[in-house]
Symmetry: C2
Subunit: 223 residues, 2 copies
DNA sequence: GGTTGGATAATTGGATACAAAAATCCAGCA
DNA sequence: TGCTGGATTTTTGTATCCAATTATCCAACC
């Protein structure tokens, strides 16, 4: 709710940043479908600027893996193939595994309480059919990996979460994930409570790698 | 030796690509030092183009973590603090660990021979004091992680190698690494020969994480 | 009827020009 | 002598313009 407003207020930032956030948001919620061409002029006039900052935003989106950029061929929404989705989950598993290993000694009672609260919110969002479930789920993971206090690690994991977000939304529509999610994430909390970093790492890796097999329904038309 | 030529021949590609490769190369060999400001006009006239493609190249370099970009403040070479170097090695350890886990079943006699040959070349480059040692070392790792056949994983690992390359060069000047490198990498080969993916993963993780502690001499002035 | 080739239109890439922001410098003041 | 404030200079960000590349469409030919 803050996002759509911020763009018009020009509060903090440059046009390029605005274009980047605008497009990232649009891609995250799946407004554009994989394979769609992003026409600079369209987007530029939509946000009220020229093509130039939009072009630069494209570069950043490409670096995030959200779009594909080919010389003289424009900008295309980067649909992920099943293999690519699987790969992202593989990478996430070791990255978030590392993060949770580093986070384990830093857990406090307050943070455990926060995680439990989020689990409740996830469940509620899931039952109401709200798409917020995906965001709550991301938040749950973010609380943990943010504790690692490794900026680059956090940035990379976050980028992966953003890249798979539209697929998570679709997945949420297909299978009713939230039902099994509760106990799965409870297992994660239990592993963290054990205080054993290696154990927590293993559990996180298994938790993440278990997911993509269930995503098999949604493949992208092209890249 | 092909690099300096390709830029003048305009063989394949756009100006932005040229600027990107030019700057990446310059940053890899340490031509610019951490904290240096990169002035678009300077670089533009140097390669013979306008500021625009250079600006876009900056974006890509920033995504790679090679430079830092702040609004209205220009482009600064991203010096890595010791903490950041350590973090990159941590990330490398799990990423290349995953890669070697996937690569282990794909090893062939030919590839083992290639690795052994590279080990020889590394040693020779090390003894002659040539900076090529860093490149040979990267190649050694690349042969292994390329076998994983995971494009995104490979891309990420490669980006990390590029980011730490100047530090590896300096490190190579300080401590005479190549002496101990031979047996360290031989251990890696042995682990791969064992055929046990988990074991190879563990050995790779330990191999990588052992490195940054020795890099403690070179800290960057600022970020 | 299907395919190839060329002319035309649309789109992208790059250069220049202009506006806005930041850094610098210098004068005035305490 | 050191600090503050404002004008100037420098640098960055955005828009517009032009060139180059690619896509489209239609006609001629096989």
């Amino acid at each position: 709710m803050s996002g759509s407003f911020a763009t018009s207020v020009h509060l903090a930032s440059t046009a390029e940043q605005e274009a980047y956030l605008h497009l990232q948001q649009a891609l995250r919620i799946g407004r554009y479908k994989p394979g769609d061409r992003l026409i600079p002029e369209e987007i530029a006039s939509e946000i009220g600027m020229s093509r130039m900052p939009v072009r630069e935003a494209f570069r950043r989106l490409a670096a995030d893996g959200l779009v594909t950029l080919r010389p003289n061929r424009g900008c295309v929404v980067a649909g992920l193939t099943l293999d690519e989705i699987h790969e992202i989950f593989e990478i996430r598993s070791v990255l978030e595994g590392l993060a949770v290993r580093l986070a384990t000694p830093k857990m406090t009672t307050e943070i455990f309480e926060e995680l439990e609260r989020l689990l409740d919110r996830m469940e509620r969002a899931g039952k109401s059919g709200s798409n917020d479930w995906v965001l709550r789920h991301q938040e749950f993971h973010a609380i943990i990996f943010n504790l690692s206090e490794r900026p680059k690690l956090i940035r990379q994991i976050t980028a992966l979460h953003v890249a798979i977000e539209p697929y998570m939304r679709i997945w949420f529509d297909y299978v009713n994930k939230p039902l099994s999610a509760r106990e799965e994430h409870q297992t994660l909390i239990d592993a963290l409570r054990s205080g054993d970093p290696s154990h927590a790492e293993t559990v996180m890796q298994e938790h993440i790698i278990a997911t993509p097999n269930l995503l098999a329904d949604y493949a992208s038309p092209r890249r």
